[in-house]
Symmetry: C2
Subunit: 357 residues, 2 copies
């Protein structure tokens, strides 16, 4: 008899409090792509797949979030929407239109301008429920990390809003709090010290877009290896980082690995590159693996230009299982709504099926 070891699922229904209507994209207002439907569909697919334990998060407070994010940024985020309303802003949500680019360094006092100091684009629309949704999304990641630290071999944090574009003090790309970074730091902080040296974590980012926020957070550290496989930023968001020449700074040199890829990459080419990345991860001998799991690499994704089929996701899950590490999946992007649930369950299914053999 095969005992399938199922990945534990964490989610929160409060993500639905974050539901902006529009985003500004290439000169036009378009429907907000990072919609509540995304997480709802994934949860439904996981329920239908069956066999998973599905848990709600408990509140672990601010400390694990403050371990990653700048205090002034968090204070701003908490008060951004009420301050925007008080300044006459619309209930459709607070969003930046003027930005602290390059030589502009002065932190502005006006609530409408603070948005452009703490955001790198116009996707991070802050509505009435955004702060609660983002806080709970981080708690989902923290609880999943706790499950691992208590002995579970794997967990999936169905985070929404996503996190990997958020820097310590910048939101962007639909992300406000960096769930994967918070979870990785939690794991490091709650591990028993190893006689062989410091506790080490890997964050493997397989979202279509470069994880600029995660990279920046750990760029000068050697205890977190950041490996990102993504669309070349010369072609795709987030544009300003993600090149192969970015390898870390100071203590962190060598602990950032960027693998930018061309458009239309297929299953075979992608999986070959993923396996090479997995070799680098094994060599690092981490205690923990956190996977920033975006499936906007799918051939039908409206925000992507890769050509992965659904079959690739089962194989991605299998490759990750072969690493034989305590593994935390954190939900990032994926916008092909009709196939989103299936693509996520395929990753977890591939991961679980390997564990069972």
């Amino acid at each position: 008899m095969i005992i399938v070891r199922r990945v534990i699922i964490y989610h929160s229904s409060t993500h639905q409090l974050h539901a902006p209507v529009h985003e500004f994209f290439e000169g036009a207002l378009i429907p907000y792509q990072e919609s509540p439907t995304r997480a709802n569909i994934v949860l439904t697919a996981l329920r239908e797949a069956g066999g998973h334990e599905i848990r709600l998060p408990t509140d672990h407070g601010w400390e694990p979030i403050r371990a990653i994010h700048d205090s002034a940024y968090l204070d701003w985020f908490k008060s951004a929407y009420p301050a925007w309303l008080a300044a006459g802003g619309s209930t459709s949500g607070a969003v930046a239109d003027t930005f602290a680019v390059r030589q502009l360094k002065r932190r502005p006092n006006h609530p409408k301008a603070a948005l452009g100091y703490y955001a790198l684009d116009a996707t991070t629309v802050i509505t009435d429920g955004t702060f609660q949704a983002a806080y709970d999304s981080a708690q989902v990641a923290i609880c999943a990390a706790e499950a691992l630290s208590q002995g579970s071999r794997s967990a999936f944090a169905l985070c929404r809003p996503p996190g990997h574009h958020a820097h310590a003090d910048l939101c962007g790309g639909y992300c406000f709090l960096n769930n994967a970074a918070i979870a990785a730091q939690w794991l490091i902080d709650h591990s028993t010290a190893e006689p062989s040296g410091p506790v080490r974590a890997v964050i493997l980012d397989v979202d279509f877009h470069h994880g600029n926020g995660t990279q920046d957070i750990f760029y000068r550290r050697s205890d977190v290896l950041f490996v990102s496989i993504h669309a070349d930023p010369d072609r795709q968001y987030p544009y300003f980082s993600g090149g192969a020449a970015e390898v870390g700074e100071g203590e962190g040199v060598g602990a950032t690995i960027n693998i930018p890829l061309p458009a239309r990459i297929n299953d075979h080419a992608y999986l070959t590159i993923l396996d090479q990345a997995c070799d680098r991860i094994s060599d690092y001998r981490p205690n923990w693996l956190v996977v920033s799991l975006g499936v906007d690499t799918f051939e039908g994704d409206p925000l992507g230009d890769f050509a992965l089929t659904n079959e690739a996701y089962t194989l991605i899950g299998r490759s990750l299982a072969e690493l034989n590490l305590s593994t935390l999946f954190v939900m990032e992007g994926g916008y092909a709504i009709a196939q989103l649930g299936q693509n996520i369950t395929s990753v977890l299914g591939g991961f679980e099926s390997f564990k069972a053999t």
Copy 2:
């Protein structure tokens, strides 16, 4: 008999080539505020006022523009719209939605992202005719400067698009090329050397908004005194600069004077402050005075919150005339369309009437 010495007017009809339909403002798309109607109305009012010599510009080429702007920025600006179209962008115009904020320094290669490297907000929509309009707007300023250097005591450059928010390598606030800075530099470069020391120019910026671009361009120089009277940036665009504590750097310490003002300031209070600024200008003993002339300080301006009446503009013109300097007016903002022509002709009328007595 009183001989009224009229201000010579320079303008170009090609400003009409720059006519974006919308801009992104506080989460919504609104009609583009910096419309062709603005300059057309001012020209009509000047014609109706009568007595002015109205001239078209001749082409002085790139050199005077390159004396202020970064070459890579100019190259980008020239190719921005065709590159945007080639990348699949809409003919409604190229505009940034993702920005090179703070720690993001990498110059992106993608044409849609380059916009967010070279712009600080979403107002600088680049359409098919924008580059020609901005180039000709700079030529209007240069020709007006040339008239001064050839002996005219005063000239008005009816520039559109405006310029004072443009840095050496950043567009923003409807501005692409800094017409006032280009004109001031032209005057310095084309003046006969003075036995008493270097040639010096003052740029007095009376637009409602802080002239962030002009400030940044001359921030480390002592031969251009920049004096700006504007809405406190804690309350109004451009938010990231314009505080009284910004006084210049290095050689330029003391040659930047910012006078941020509260909302609802009235004629009397404003004129008192202007006269104090004029004393500082006299003390500097400049060879040339360039006035960045915005009339969005008007009580009815949709972008402003000051309370100046039309009468103030006559008195502003008179105060400037009392400085008894060779004076170049460069058109900046002003969005109360119905009164825009009258407010501008009042400044010039006040200036001319003093000259005549």
